[in-house]
Symmetry: C2
Subunit: 620 residues, 2 copies
C-alpha cells in the first residue's frame, strides 16, 4: 500500500482557506470530519472528503489542516493503516494514547493568536461543534461555519450523490408497520411535550418507514430526512424514487388511511427551508426534538429555546430493541451465514495446502458462498481477510498490492458479514491451517476466555454495556496484554452493522442500558504488531436470565449467541480454560452442530457438514 501524495492538494486547500470567496476572512485551520450530513459511519463516495484529502480511508478519523500542519486523529484499529496510507505531509494522532493531544488542545497549541478555525456545518455534529466552539473560544480563537465545503472546492471530479432504488419491507420482515411506528413515536413525543421531531440518521429513517435503499455501500439506507409533527409527516427524498406504484402503495401516498398518517413528500435538499418554515411558525411552548449528533447546520435552524436535543432519538432506541419477527429473522440470517462460513472453512482447509488461496480470493469465496443463500443482498462491511502480520491491522482490507497467500504457517483472521433481507451478520474467526505456535495459542485462549466471560455473563436489568467491557479483558490483562478497541457494538436488522445506542466499550459514552431484544457483538481481540492478529466475534442477543435469586425483583439478563460458527479448537490451549469455560465451548459447539448441521443437511452441503462435525468435537 503506497501513501497518497497530498502535497499539491494541501497547497490548493490552504489557498482556499485564504480565499475570501468562501469565508469573509482567511481561516487558519480547517477541520475535515469523516461523516456526511447524516453523520453516517459509512459514507457514499461523494462524501469521502477526509479520504480524498489525506489518502486514509478507515471508517473513523478527523483531519485538521492548518497553514503549517496536517494532522489526522484516528483510533487503535487504524494506526497501522493510516500510517501506510498517508504521506509525510500528515501527522498521525493516535487517539486513546495518553500522550496524544485532543483536537482542541492541539489546535490551541499550534494556532497563532485569534485564529479562525473553519468547518462545514453540515458535516460536523451539533455536539462536536459545541465542544469545539467552547474550547476554541476559551483560548481566544473562533470556530466558524464555512458554507461551501473547501474539499469540494479542490475536488474537480467529485462523484454524484447516489439515488438507488428503494425496497419496501412487509410485516413478515419488520413485525411492525410504519404507521404503528409513527404512532409510538408520537406517543413518546406527547409524553415529553414535544411537538416536532427531526430525523436525520439514515438508518432511523429506513427503519421508521420499513424501507431500504443501497445509497451507501454495505448499508441498506438511502439519503432522506423526515420531520414528524403530531398530525403531519414530512419526508425529504429524491422524489424520482417514489414513482413506483408499489412504493406509493407502501407509503399510502395516494390514499392514506388517516389524515395524520398522510406523508407529504419534498425534495431531499428542501429540508433546510422547510424546517425554517416550521420553526418560524412555532408557538411559544413548542419543542423540537433533534439528536445532538445531527448536523450543526440543521440543529441551528431550530431556535435554542425551542430545541430539545437528545443523545438518542426514540427511533434509535426503538430500532435497537428487536421485536419477535426481527429476532426470528436475525436468527435465520445467522444460520444461513454459518452455512456459508462452514463451507468456506472446509474449502480453505482443502485448498490452502495447494498454495492458491489469497486474502482476496478467500474473501471473494466467502462472498460467493453467502450469495448462494436465500435473500442475500450484499456484504454488511468490507471483508477483513488477513494473514499473519495483516491480522494486526485491525480494519485491514486486502488490496491487490498487499494481497498475501494463505499458508499452513500463519494465522488467518476473517471478519465478515452480510445483509440478508431478514437480518444482518458480522462474525470473526481466527484460524490456523497448520500448527499454531504456543504464543499464538496462548493469546487466542485469553481472547476466548474474554469472549466467553462476556457471552456467559449474567447481569442485572438496567446494566449499561460499558460495565461488561472489562470482563472481556481480564484474562489478557492478567498476562499484561490488551486490545485497543471496544468489545462490542449494536447490530441492526437488515440495517447498519454498527448501530447505537448500546454497546460494550471501555469508553464511557452515554450508552443506554442493555435490555432484552437488543443485539450486540462480542469481539475481544489481541494484536501482535508485525506478526498476527486474533479476534473472536459473535453477534449475541440480550435475553432474560433466570439465576437462583432475584435481588429487588430487578430481573437479570444474559446473552444468547446468534452466530453459530465453530471456534477453532486447534488454536486453544485448553489447559488455560476453566471447566466452566470448556463447558461453554462444548455447549456452543453442540448448538452449532445441531442448528447449522441441520441446515447444511437440508441444503445438501456434505463437505461442510463433515467439517462442522470434525470441528465441534468435545474438548476435555
Amino acid at each position: 500500500m503506497s501513501p497518497k501524495i497530498t502535497g499539491e492538494l494541501l497547497r490548493q486547500l490552504r489557498q482556499a482557506m485564504k480565499n475570501c470567496k468562501y469565508f469573509s476572512e482567511p481561516i487558519q485551520a480547517y477541520i475535515i470530519p469523516s461523516g456526511d450530513a447524516h453523520q453516517s459511519e459509512y459514507i457514499a463516495p461523494c462524501d469521502c472528503r477526509r479520504e480524498f484529502i489525506s489518502g486514509f480511508d478507515g471508517s473513523a478519523g478527523t483531519a485538521i489542516v492548518t497553514e503549517q500542519h496536517a494532522a489526522m486523529w484516528t483510533d487503535g484499529r487504524y494506526f497501522l493503516q493510516a500510517n501506510q496510507q498517508m504521506d509525510n505531509n500528515w501527522t498521525l494522532m493516535k487517539m486513546g494514547l495518553k500522550e496524544t493531544p485532543s483536537q482542541e488542545d492541539w489546535l490551541i497549541s499550534v494556532l497563532p493568536e485569534n485564529s479562525k478555525v473553519g468547518v462545514d456545518p453540515w458535516i460536523i455534529a451539533a455536539d462536536q461543534w459545541k465542544n469545539m466552539f467552547k474550547a476554541l473560544s476559551s483560548a481566544g480563537h473562533s470556530l466558524v461555519a464555512v458554507q461551501d465545503n473547501l474539499i469540494d472546492a479542490v475536488w474537480p471530479d467529485r462523484p454524484e450523490r447516489p439515488s438507488t432504488q428503494l425496497r419496501s419491507l412487509g410485516l413478515d420482515f419488520t413485525g411492525i408497520s410504519w404507521q404503528d411506528k409513527i404512532t409510538t413515536l408520537r406517543a413518546k413525543m406527547s409524553e415529553r411535550k414535544i411537538t416536532w421531531f427531526v430525523a436525520t440518521a439514515l438508518d432511523e429513517i429506513a427503519w421508521l418507514f420499513n424501507l431500504r435503499g443501497a445509497d451507501i455501500e454495505y448499508n441498506p439506507v438511502f439519503f432522506a430526512y423526515t420531520i414528524v409533527g403530531m398530525s403531519t409527516i414530512r419526508f425529504f427524498v429524491d422524489l424520482k424514487r417514489l414513482s413506483d406504484p408499489a412504493m406509493r402503495e407502501h407509503l399510502q401516498l395516494d390514499s392514506p388511511s388517516k389524515p395524520e398518517l398522510s406523508i407529504q413528500t419534498f425534495p431531499y435538499e428542501s429540508v433546510y427551508t422547510e424546517l425554517q418554515a416550521i420553526c418560524a411558525a412555532l408557538g411559544p411552548k413548542d419543542k423540537v426534538w433533534i439528536c445532538d449528533k445531527a448536523s450543526c447546520a440543521l440543529t441551528q435552524v431550530i431556535p435554542k429555546t425551542h430545541r430539545s436535543p437528545i443523545p438518542y432519538t426514540p427511533l434509535c432506541l426503538g430500532k435497537a430493541v428487536k421485536n419477535a419477527t426481527e429476532i426470528q429473522g436475525m436468527k435465520m440470517a445467522h444460520i444461513k451465514d454459518a452455512v456459508a462460513l462452514c463451507e468456506l472453512f472446509a474449502w480453505l482447509e482443502k485448498e490452502i495446502p495447494n498454495g492458491n488461496v489469497t486474502e482476496i480470493s478467500a474473501a471473494d469465496k466467502a462472498e460467493e458462498l453467502r450469495s448462494q443463500q436465500k435473500d442475500f443482498v450484499g456484504l454488511s462491511f468490507p471483508t477483513i481477510s488477513s494473514v499473519g502480520p495483516h491480522g494486526a491491522i485491525i480494519h485491514y482490507r486486502p488490496l491487490p498490492e498487499t494481497n498475501r497467500t494463505l499458508t499452513v504457517n500463519e494465522v488467518y483472521l476473517i471478519d465478515s458479514g452480510a445483509q440478508y433481507v431478514d437480518g444482518t451478520t458480522d462474525v470473526t474467526r481466527t484460524m490456523h491451517f497448520g500448527t499454531p505456535s504456543a504464543f499464538e495459542k496462548e493469546c487466542f485462549t485469553y481472547v476466548l476466555k474474554g469472549h466467553i466471560a462476556v457471552s456467559a455473563a449474567i447481569f442485572p436489568n438496567g446494566t449499561k454495556g460499558h460495565l461488561l467491557d472489562s470482563f472481556a479483558r481480564a484474562a489478557l490483562w492478567e498476562s499484561g496484554l490488551d486490545y485497543l478497541h471496544g468489545t462490542g457494538h449494536g447490530v441492526g436488522c437488515f440495517l447498519n452493522v454498527h448501530e447505537g445506542p448500546c454497546g460494550i466499550s471501555y469508553k464511557t459514552f452515554a450508552d443506554e442500558p442493555l435490555e432484552a431484544g437488543m443485539i450486540v457483538s462480542d469481539e475481544p481481540g489481541y494484536y501482535e504488531d508485525g506478526s498476527f492478529g486474533i479476534r473472536l466475534e459473535n453477534v449475541v442477543l440480550v435475553v432474560p436470565a433466570k439465576p437462583k435469586y432475584n435481588y429487588r425483583n430487578r430481573g437479570s439478563l444474559t446473552f444468547e449467541p446468534l452466530t453459530l460458527v465453530p471456534i477453532q479448537v486447534k488454536m486453544m490451549n485448553t489447559e488455560l480454560l476453566t471447566q466452566k469455560e470448556r463447558d461453554w465451548v462444548n455447549e456452543y459447539h453442540r448448538k452449532c452442530r445441531e442448528v447449522v448441521g441441520a441446515e447444511l443437511e437440508r441444503q445438501g452441503r456434505q463437505e461442510a457438514l463433515e467439517w462442522l462435525i470434525r470441528e465441534t468435537q468435545l474438548i476435555i
Copy 2:
C-alpha cells in the same frame, strides 16, 4: 429510631420562602444540599442544615421543599435509614432506581409555571448550579441565588462555626514540605498558563500546608481558603489560630525563606472580597483555576472569560498519589489498627456468649483499643456496628434506642476506622460468633469472591477505577444478587477517609486513572433487608504489577492490601471458591499473621495473638 417531627419547621421554612426579606419575590421551591461552603462530605454541626430540616442525618442527601411537597434524594446506602428518620411530611427519592425522577425532572413535574427555585449559592457547587440552572430554564422556571440561608433563618439555636487548634506535620509524616508543594503547584499552573489558583476544599488546603485541624468530626481539617498566585500566597483562616509561635514558624509567617513563599494571612470571611479584588486587577490573558465543585458563590466572582474550571485540582491529584513517607505511614497505621481489631474480635468471641455486648459497647471497645495505639487521634468516621437486620442499613450507626445485643445467632458487621498521625484507616469485617446459615455463607462467599477479584486484578496503567467495578459484582450477579453502592473510594493519609479523584464505582463520574501510590478501598457487600448485611472492606495500595508480557510498554498495576485483619473462614463456603481464590485467602492470612502477629507479640497482646493464629489457619 423515631422520625423527627418537621411539620412546624416546614411551615416556617415555607413562610420564609414567601418572605421578600430574603428574596425580592416569593420562591416556589428551596433546595437544601448536604454540603458546606467547601463542599465537604462530612460537615460541622453549624452546617447540618439538611439534617435539621428533615431529621435525616446520612452523609449524602439533598432535600427540596416546595409549597406542597418535601422530598429527599439519597442513595442505596441510606434508603432504610432515611425512611426511619423522616416523618410523613417527606417523600424519599431513591437514587439509582429506574423509577426515581432526578431532582430537575421532579421539580419540573410539580412546579407551577414560571416558578422560582431558590438555593444558597455558597452551599451549591458550581457544576450542580449549572446543571440545575439549565434544566429549570429550559422548562420555563428559574434558579435563583438566595444570599441568606433560609434554614438558618428558621434555626434559632444554630451552633457556632468551630475553630479548633491547628497541628503542623513535619517531613517525617508528610514527605514533602509545603514550600515544595507550592512550587509543584506553580509549575503546573505555568504549564497551563494559569495565573491564579483558588483552593476551597478543606482537605486540599490541609494537605498543601501540612496542617491539620479538628473542625469537622472525623476529618482532621479546618475552615480555610487559599488563593495562590505565581508570587503570592493568600491564606484565609480564623487568625487567632496562627498566634502560636510554632505554627508561625511552620508557616514562616515572620521570616519567609523567599518572597514568593511568603504567606499573607486574612480572616476566613474575607475570601469573597479578596477574590473580587484579585479579579478586578486581572490582565486580559489571566486565567484563574477553580474546581468546578467549588461553591457557586465563589466561582461566580471570577469573570467567565478568566475562569478555568477543572474537575479536579492539581492539589487533589497530588494528594491522591501518596509519596514513600505517606505510604510507610499508612502501612504503620494499618498494622496498629489491625492490632486493635484482633483484640476486639478476640474479646467479642469471649464476651458475646455472656450476652453483655451491644452494638454500642462493641463500637466503644473498638475505639478504646484503637486509642491505646501510638499516635491515635480519633475515629475516621462513625463506627458502623450492626447486628442482624441492622447490617442491611448500609450506613447504620447504633443509637441507644436502636442498640441491639450481639448474639451467637446473628451476623455482626463492623465498619470502622481511625485517624492516626501517620495515616487513616477504614476496614469492614462481617463475622458470625455462632453458626452462620447456608444462605449467609453463600452470600458472604460471593462478596469475598468479588473482593478478591478486585484486589487481585491486574490491569494496564491508565485504567480508570470504574472499569474494575464489575469485577466486584460478577459472582453476585451470577446468582441474581447485587449491592447498591460503589465498590471503593480514595482514602487520605491522616486526612478524609473519602477522597477523590479516584475510586471504583459503576457510576461513570470523571474518575482519574489509577496510578501507583494511590490508595482506595475495596468493599463489595450484600444486604438482605430485614435480615443481615455483609461487607468486606480492605484499604488497598495501587502498586506496579509484573505480568508475563508488557503490551505496548504500558506497564501494569495491581493492589496490595494495607488492611491486615483476618477474614472469617467460618463465614466462607470454601466449595464455592476457586483454587486461585483459596490461594489468595491463604496468602492474605499468612501476611496478617506475619506482620500483625509480630506487632501483637511486640506489644505483648497474647490473647489477640492466639486469636489471630486461630483465624489464619490454611483453608483447602
